[in-house]
Every structure is written in structure tokens, then in C-alpha cells.
Amino acid sequence: MRKRPRHQQKQEGRQTRISGGGFIDRLKAYRDLHAHALFSSLGRLISSRFASVMTIVVLAIGISLASGFYILVKNLQQLAGNLESSNQISLFLKDDVSDINAKKFSENLKKNPDVQEVKFISKEQALKEFETYSGFGSAVKALEKNPLPIVVQVIPKNSFDDEAVTQNLFEHFKLVPEVDLAQMDMQWVKRLQSIVEVARRGVQLLSGLLGIGVLFITANTIRLELHNRREEVVIAKLVGATNGFIQRPFLYSGFWLGFFSGVAAWFIVTFTALVLKQPIEKLSGLYDGSFHVVFLDFFETFAMLSISALLGMVGSWIVVHFQLRQLKPE
């Protein structure tokens, strides 16, 4: 604040003395003002229950969409992360390769210095697994001939440190005459990871948009409140209220709106996650997976509530700051 002329400072000094204390007293008075604004704005939200609930529901849906997508991506990332360990090459052998030749082929593979482990899956084993896990057991039984090929799964050595080893092996296997199709599982993992990355970016953009939505909905609600309390604002200005004093309760209103919307959004998201958790984990079980639905942890919940409350305050500030400047007492 700019320095005020001496006589006015003197006058303020006089006021302070009259109010019976120095700096500490003024600080306490300031704290009282904030506490009063905090609780009176809460009181007003409660007294206009219907309007508040409507606003909060709209805000909560916006916030829960953003955090819901966030959880979705978080789960996808977990899924992709789990798959990272399956860094193997699957070799689907040609149909005319006999079991004995196939076994010999896989024994030979073990001698390759770049190969760590070889797993042989016969046609019968493959069929059994398929029957057990696919859920198409009875359909398979109806077939005259086993349509599944012999599969040899190869885990390369040092594959995590050196992708080139895996790549070389892969290129080599493609040319082996017994092999019908060589497939690198890593490729699928990479594709999935790329998809997750795209989803993650998309969700970030979407969350940004939803955040802006929350900001403007709060701003509009506060604008209406400011309009309804115009008379009060004018009177406060006429008896010497600073803009800071006038905007304080509105900022707290924005804070409460955002905070309660955050809490409501948490309940929406938690409820949705609980409803989906069981079927998803059952589905994962059917695919022999051990996928567990992850949810917002403590820090993320805290962040969600903070961001909601902050958006509410910022939305409120934008409106009050610009409208108060225009609002002249006459």
C-alpha cells in the first residue's frame, strides 16, 4: 500500500490505541474477520440449500469425470506395467512339423547362447489350456481335429538390459523353416503402452477442460450471489470497506463450493469403483490374471480435494475481482 499522509497515519494510531492494543490485537481482529467470513459463507450455503446442492452436484459430476478417467488410466498403466515382464518370443510351428521334430527343435534352441529358457507346448497341452481358460471347451470338443499349432516359448537372455538381443533372436526365428509365425510379445506390450500414453494425454486434456468448466460454473454461481447481495456490497463500500474486505466472504463461498464438490465427487468415484471392482477382478481371473483395481490413494484424494477447493476460489476471485472494480456505490 502506498504511504498515506502523516495526519491519517496519526489518526489510525489513535484508533489503534482506542481499540486497546497494538499489532497483536489487530492481528487477532484480522483472524476473527477471516473466521467470521469462513463460517458465515458456510452458513449462507446451507441457508440456500437447494441452489447450493444443484451447483455442487454439477461441479461434482465434472470433478468425478476427471478423476474417474484418471483412475481408469492409472489402472491401464498398472496393466501395461504387469505385462512388461512377459518379454518373450512365441514361435508357432508349421502344422507339418511332427511332435518329435518339434521337441528336437526346442532342445536345439536351448543351446543358443542368447536363449535363457525354452518352454515347449504341445498341441494337446495347448488345447487343454484353451479348453480350461477360454470358456469355449465344448465348442472345441466338437472339432474333429485339433486346430492349434505347437508353440515354443523362448525367453531371451539379458532381454531387459539389451533389447537388441531380443530383436536379433526374433529376426533369426522368422527365417527358421519350422517356424510358421514368430511373435514378440514385447511388441504388444509396447503397443498397449502407446495406447495408454495416448489415453493418458487425452485424459489430461479432458481434465483440463473439465477443470475450466468447474472454474466457470463456480464463477457464475458467485456472480449470481454477488448480484443478490449487491445492496450489501454497496453499503459496505460506502462505509469504507476495502475490496479485500468485500471479496473475502465470496472467496470462502467459492472455497466451500469447490471443497464440497470434491467430497461429493470422491463419493461418486468410490461408489463407481466399488460397483465395478468385483466384475473386473472376476474378468481378470478368467484370463488367469491377478489384476486388482487400484483406487485413489491418500495423497491423490488430498490432491483432488485441494484442486477442487482451489478451482472454486479462483473462479470466485475472477468474478469478484473484476465485478467489484466496476461496481460503484451510486
Partner: protein, 218 residues
């Protein structure tokens, strides 16, 4: 206390509403501002309360040039003048106590001090005991006295009243004027805008008369 020096004010749509006004109010002086409606009383009032700025000239209040203060400083200027309005401008959803306490809350006084001062101000205007009432339940005269209590609770060096008795009958008006005299007697500068000539002429104070934006008598 208050000095106008060749002050003019122009609204782009209307033209000059105040022309070349010069006068001076000394500390502890009580005066009336009168004139037909549209003569510029309200505009002059708004200039003093810095609700408007003048187009030409200088207004000095308590040693400060009102043309030169920033928007940020306006609230602090208003705290040293008690404003009283024809329509009282009370908060209808707050009690008498809360209405009178508003300037003190704004100025950052602590609760105990606020309570003491509000009671003193209400006592002065004869409304002690009505703290918990709402303005709606009071008569016009009582509401105006709440407005006056609010204006003086902060002990400002100057009181500005814009048609304070405009909505009141002659008997109540006399009582309100008597209150203003009491404040003047303890050293407060008082300026009352009013067109109630009969009431003004009965009281022996300085009268500033405006006619079509010009000061014709002082």
C-alpha cells in the same frame, strides 16, 4: 476540514452539473446545502464521498487532495466521514447491532470494543435496547437514527447527510436535526443536504445554496 476550489463536474450525457464551485467548511462547523432538485446537491455529495471525481478544480478533505488519491485509498477516506442517506441504506437482514457495527468490523476492531462502541452510539441516538431488532420492525425515524448511529460509531471528524429528513414528518425531522446539532457541539463538521427550506430557516446555520450547478449564496 473541507475545501472546494473552482470545482466543476460534467457528465458526458448531461453537460455541466456543477460549475465553478468554491467554498470552505471549517472544523466543527455545521452548514446546510440546499437548492431545487437537480441543482447539483447530490453530485456535490458524491464528489465529497469520492463516489465521483470532479472534472476541473480541487477538493481538499482533511488535508488530502481528493482528485489525487488512488482508488485503493478511497475506503480509508470514507472511514473518516460518516455518510447518512435519505433511504437510510440499512441491511434489512441484519440486526440493528450488526448494522451499526459494520464500520467497526470493516476497520478491524475487536469484538469487545465493537460492542462497547455500538452501545454508546445507540445510546446517543436514543435506541439503546433495540440492538436485536431488525430495521424492518422500526419506524422511519428510528431507522434513520440507526443510520446516524452507524455514521458516528467510528467517530469521524465529518458527517455528510444527504436529505436525511426527506422521508420523515416535521416533528421527527426536528429531532434528527437536533441530533446533528449535538454532534456539531462536540466538534464534528456537519454538512446536510436538504431542500426543506422552512426547517433550515428556523435553524441559525450557514446555508450553501445551489442553483443550476452554481453556488448562488453562501
Amino acid at each position: 476540514m473541507l475545501q472546494f476550489d473552482k470545482v466543476s463536474m460534467r457528465y458526458p450525457e448531461v453537460g455541466d452539473v456543477l460549475k465553478n464551485i468554491s467554498f470552505q467548511l471549517h472544523p466543527g462547523e455545521m452548514s446546510f446545502l440546499t437548492g431545487h432538485s437537480g441543482a447539483g446537491k447530490s453530485s456535490l455529495f458524491k464528489l465529497i464521498a469520492v463516489m465521483e471525481r470532479c472534472t476541473r478544480g480541487e477538493i481538499v478533505f482533511a488535508g488530502q487532495n481528493l482528485n489525487k488519491i488512488s482508488d485503493r485509498q478511497i475506503p480509508y477516506i470514507r472511514r473518516s466521514m460518516g455518510l447518512i442517506f435519505q433511504d437510510y441504506k440499512l441491511l434489512q437482514d441484519r440486526t440493528v447491532f450488526d448494522n451499526v457495527a459494520l464500520p467497526l468490523v470493516i476497520a478491524g476492531y475487536r469484538h469487545g470494543e465493537i460492542s462497547r462502541r455500538v452501545r454508546a452510539a445507540l445510546d446517543k441516538v436514543g435506541l439503546l435496547g433495540k440492538e436485536k431488532k431488525y430495521p424492518m420492525t422500526l419506524s422511519g425515524g428510528e431507522q434513520q437514527r440507526v443510520g446516524i448511529a452507524r455514521a458516528v460509531v467510528n467517530k469521524p471528524p465529518m458527517i455528510l447527510a444527504d436529505e436525511p429528513t426527506g422521508n420523515l414528518d416535521p416533528e421527527l425531522s426536528k429531532e434528527i436535526m437536533h441530533l446533528f446539532e449535538q454532534f456539531q457541539q462536540v466538534g464534528v463538521t456537519v454538512l446536510i443536504a436538504s431542500h426543506d427550506i422552512s426547517l433550515i430557516s428556523k435553524m441559525n446555520y450557514r446555508v450553501l445554496t445551489l442553483d443550476h450547478g452554481q453556488l448562488v449564496a453562501s
